[in-house]
């Protein structure tokens, strides 16, 4: 007698960004391969993950990544939706699901949202900025599209380790015997350079607000201006009062602890002589 049920293979991959591990579960082996390729360098050999997401793949017609993203919280659950995906996440249980087609962009968006929500409660944030490590210290280069994030990343000297050319991952961590410090981590979230960041981290030494100009110069930025510009460049998805509060406090705390400068630069390699 033939079996009444078909056993479905379940595949998993743990993607660890900024030390926060997310397990993605799927029944589609091709999708799993795509995740391994997309997040290579950030795939963890650890089996333990802080959060678990089941991916429910839909037909390819289900896609409109240009639509606005909606992130709302109700009764302890987060609901995320864009034209190309729907997702739900319950922080208390650490579990969630994603309904999307088999493409890398939708899950990338969900991961960015989830990490931004996780970081907010922990005093960190995702920032529209390139970042790189030089001489053991991390430098962030923030700016809107066209400000020079890709350019400064492309000009980085061989001794600089690129963490990202698009989205920086900043956490506030305890330092034994000292005060807390901000640490920048590499991310797989890429911009025009389309190159994954290195999966490493370093304490943040400075935030540079990018501007292109006729000559290279660095000018200090006052705390209030720094706070305003930092908030303007934070990735912020949720129209949620508590999240707004955390993001605001994180921005204010960051600019009090980390020097912020305006970096006006000519797009050639000499700009890196002033950094690090």
């Amino acid at each position: 007698m033939p079996g009444l049920a078909t056993q479905v293979e379940r595949y998993s991959v743990v993607i660890a960004i900024g030390g926060v591990a997310v397990r993605v579960n799927t029944t589609d082996a091709d999708f799993l391969d795509m995740l391994h390729a997309r997040y290579s360098g950030f795939v963890s050999a650890e089996t333990h993950a802080e959060f678990d997401f089941d991916v429910d793949l839909a037909a390819p017609a289900f896609a409109n990544p240009d639509a606005d993203v909606s992130v709302t919280q109700r009764s302890g659950r987060w609901f995320m939706e864009r034209g190309d995906f729907r997702a739900e996440w319950t922080p208390a249980t650490g579990t969630g699901w994603i309904h999307q087609s088999a493409n890398p962009y939708s899950i990338d968006a969900v991961l960015r949202i989830v990490h931004s929500l996780v970081l907010a409660r922990r005093g960190g944030f995702l920032l529209h900025s390139a970042s790189a490590i030089r001489n053991g210290r991390a430098f962030l280069f923030a700016g809107v599209s066209g400000a020079g994030k890709t350019t400064i990343s492309r000009l980085a000297p061989p001794d600089a380790t690129l963490l990202t050319d698009e989205i920086s991952y900043v956490r506030k961590l305890d330092v034994p015997g000292q005060d807390q410090e901000y640490v920048a981590f590499g991310t797989p979230f890429t911009g025009e350079l389309a190159k994954l960041g290195e999966n490493t981290s370093a304490p943040v030494a400075a935030l540079y607000l990018l501007a292109q100009g006729p000559k290279n110069r660095i000018d200090p930025v006052g705390e209030a201006d720094a706070g305003r510009e930092l908030l303007a460049n934070m990735l912020f998805f949720a129209e949620d009062q508590e999240m707004v509060h955390w993001a605001f406090q994180a921005a204010c705390d960051f600019v009090r602890r980390v020097p912020v400068y305006r970096l006006t630069f000519v797009p050639d390699t000499r700009v890196w002589e002033m950094i690090g």
């Binding site: 006052g222 705390e223 209030a224 720094a226 706070g227 305003r228 908030l231 912020f236 129209e239 949620d240 009062q241 508590e242 707004v244 509060h245 993001a247 605001f248 406090q249 204010c252 600019v255 009090r256 602890r257």
Partner: protein, 118 residues
């Protein structure tokens, strides 16, 4: 205006003094405001129990050297403007409790602390 007005900081906002400027962020719409010096004084003094004319008399007039009547007129207009943006709550009675039942996102004391030394 003959009636006394009482003002209280809205529980829906987060605020912090950075440098010499008071930044206020509304939880609704993620809107960021920068308060001018007069608005900062009113916002800091807006405890719900002190009337606006007392704030003007004790804080605004001595600090900004303006006449009480003129200062009160300006303060009322400013308070109404801040209330429109959800930064202050205005009442003709003392405001003894949080006027909004939703969970507060503003810490009563922490937001207005002076910057700590780095």
């Amino acid at each position: 205006m003959s009636k006394k007005l009482y003002v209280a900081r809205s529980p829906r906002i987060a605020a912090r003094k950075l440098g010499q400027e008071m930044l206020v962020m509304s939880g609704q719409g993620s809107t960021l405001f920068t308060l001018n010096p007069t608005a900062t004084v009113i916002w800091q003094a807006a405890d719900g129990a002190t009337s606006l004319d007392e704030i003007v008399e004790r804080r605004i007039c001595p600090e900004f050297e303006v006449k009480p009547e003129e200062a009160l007129r300006d303060a009322e207009a400013l308070a109404e403007d801040l209330a429109k943006h959800g930064i202050l709550v205005i009442s003709e009675e003392p405001i003894s409790e949080q006027p909004i039942s939703e969970q507060s996102i503003a810490k009563p004391d922490a937001p207005v602390q002076e910057p700590q030394q780095r």
